[in-house]
C-alpha cells in the first residue's frame, strides 16, 4: 500500500507534491478506507497534472519552446557551415606553409581533417550556451532534433551528398548515432565523479564507430569495403591516414562517406555539451514536472 501511495503521489505536478505531498501521504497512511482514498488521490493528481500543464503552458513558454526547437533543428546546418568554414580556412594556411616547407597531398588532407578540432571546440561552446538557457530532457530532445536536421541536410539533392553519397545509408547511420548519443547523454546524467568523462569519451567513440560502420556496410559491398577493416573505417575517415580500406585506394572511403563522420563527431560534442550544461543549470521556471 505504501508503494502504491508513493506512485499515486508521484502523479502530482512537482510543485503541488512538494507543497502538500507529506500531508496527503499522512492522510493516506491513517485512512480508514485506504483503497477508496488511494483512488481519490490518483484521480485528483491526474486532474491536477492536466490542469497545471495547461496553466503553465503560456504563450511566452510556447514561443521559447518553439525558438529552442527551431535552433536545435537548425544546429546541424550551422555546425556544417562552421566545419566547412574551418576546412576552407585550411587552404590559405597550407599555401602559407608551402612557403617554408614541402606540403604533399597526404599532409594537405591531414590538415583538412584536423579542422574538425576547432569546429568541435566551437560546438562545445555553442552546446554549453544552449544548455545553460535550458532544454527539457536534453539527452533525448537534442539528439532527436539534430537527427532530423542531419537527415534533412542529407536529403537535399546533390548538396546533401556532403553527408555521404548514399542517402539511405546516411539516414541509417544518423538514426543509429542519435539513439547511441541519447543513451550516452542519459548515462552522463546518471554518472558522477571522475568516471563520467572517460566513459562519455569512450562511449562517443564507440557510437561514432558504429554509425560509420552502419554507413559503409549499407552502402558498399564486401568486395569494395573488406569487412576486416571495419574498425578502421571511422579513424581512417577522421584522420585521412588511409591505407586503402575501400577499393584498396587512398581516400576512396572519404570520397564515399564525405564529411559524415566529422559532422557526427562535431554533433556528438554539441549534444554532450548541451546535456552537461543543462544538468548544471537550475530550472527556475515553473515546471510541469
Amino acid at each position: 500500500m505504501r508503494r502504491l501511495a508513493t506512485l499515486a503521489l508521484a502523479l502530482y505536478p512537482r510543485r503541488i507534491r512538494d507543497r502538500y505531498g507529506d500531508e496527503i501521504a499522512g492522510l493516506l497512511r491513517d485512512s480508514p478506507r485506504p483503497w477508496r482514498d488511494l483512488a481519490d488521490v490518483a484521480w485528483c493528481a491526474l486532474g491536477d497534472r492536466i490542469t497545471h500543464r495547461a496553466e503553465t503552458f503560456t504563450m511566452a513558454r510556447a514561443r521559447t519552446t518553439a525558438l529552442r526547437t527551431a535552433w536545435l533543428l537548425a544546429s546541424p546546418a550551422a555546425l556544417t557551415a562552421v566545419l566547412a568554414a574551418f576546412m576552407a580556412a585550411a587552404g590559405p594556411l597550407l599555401l602559407l606553409a608551402e612557403r617554408f616547407t614541402r606540403v604533399d597531398e597526404h599532409a594537405a588532407h591531414t590538415a583538412y581533417a584536423v579542422m574538425v578540432l576547432p569546429a568541435a571546440a566551437l560546438a562545445a561552446l555553442l552546446g554549453a550556451r544552449t544548455g545553460r538557457r535550458g532544454v527539457a530532457r536534453p539527452w533525448l530532445a537534442v539528439p532527436a532534433a539534430m537527427a532530423v536536421g542531419l537527415v534533412a541536410i542529407a536529403s537535399v539533392p546533390d548538396a546533401g551528398q556532403i553527408l555521404g553519397e548514399h542517402t539511405g545509408a546516411s539516414a541509417a547511420a544518423i538514426a543509429l548515432w542519435a539513439a547511441g548519443t541519447a543513451v550516452l547523454a542519459r548515462l552522463g546524467l546518471a554518472l558522477r565523479g571522475r568516471w563520467r568523462w572517460p566513459v562519455q569519451v569512450l562511449g562517443a567513440l564507440a557510437v561514432l564507430e558504429l554509425a560509420t560502420m552502419a554507413y559503409v556496410l549499407i552502402s558498399l559491398d564486401a568486395v569494395r569495403a573488406p569487412r576486416q577493416y571495419a574498425p578502421l573505417w571511422y579513424p581512417t575517415a577522421m584522420t585521412a591516414q588511409d591505407s586503402g580500406v575501400v577499393d584498396g585506394a587512398y581516400l576512396q572511403l572519404a570520397d564515399v562517406i564525405k564529411i559524415l563522420p566529422a559532422m557526427l563527431t562535431v554533433c556528438t560534442v554539441f549534444v554532450l555539451a548541451v546535456s552537461a550544461a543543462a544538468a548544471k543549470t537550475p530550472r527556475t521556471a515553473p515546471q510541469p514536472a
Binding site: Y20, E23, G26, L28, S31, R33, D40, V41, C44, D48
Partner: protein
C-alpha cells in the same frame, strides 16, 4: 472577489473546508472528520487537498506553523467574506425554492 464558483469541481469541497474552518483552525485529518460528520461523506485526501490548494491560492485560507507534524489551516478575512457570501446565496436560493414549492 471571484467567489467559490470559479473553483470548478472543487467549489463544493472548498465550501465544506471553509465551513469546517469557520469555528477555528484545523489540520487535514480533523477537517476530514468534521466534513464527514457535516455531510455524511468523508472527503478523500486528493479531494480535500485539491480544495485546500485552491483556497490557499485564492487567499481564503492560510497555513499555520506545524504542530505535532501536522499543518493546521485557518480562515482568512477574505475566506470568511467569501463563505458568508456563498452561504447567503445558498440561503436565498433555498428560500426561493422552498417558497415556490409552498412548503416554507
Amino acid at each position: 472577489m471571484a467567489g467559490l464558483s470559479d473553483l470548478g469541481r472543487f467549489s463544493e469541497p472548498a465550501m465544506h473546508v471553509l465551513i469546517s474552518l469557520a469555528d477555528g483552525p484545523k489540520h487535514g485529518y480533523a477537517m476530514q472528520d468534521d466534513i464527514g460528520a457535516l455531510t455524511g461523506t468523508r472527503p478523500g485526501p486528493g479531494t480535500l487537498y485539491g480544495a485546500v490548494r485552491r483556497l490557499e491560492e485564492h487567499g481564503y485560507i492560510q497555513a499555520l506553523p506545524e504542530q505535532d507534524r501536522r499543518k493546521p489551516y485557518r480562515l482568512t478575512d477574505a475566506g470568511r467574506a467569501a463563505l458568508t457570501a456563498e452561504l447567503r446565496r445558498i440561503e436565498h436560493l433555498a428560500g426561493t425554492g422552498l417558497r415556490r414549492l409552498a412548503v416554507a
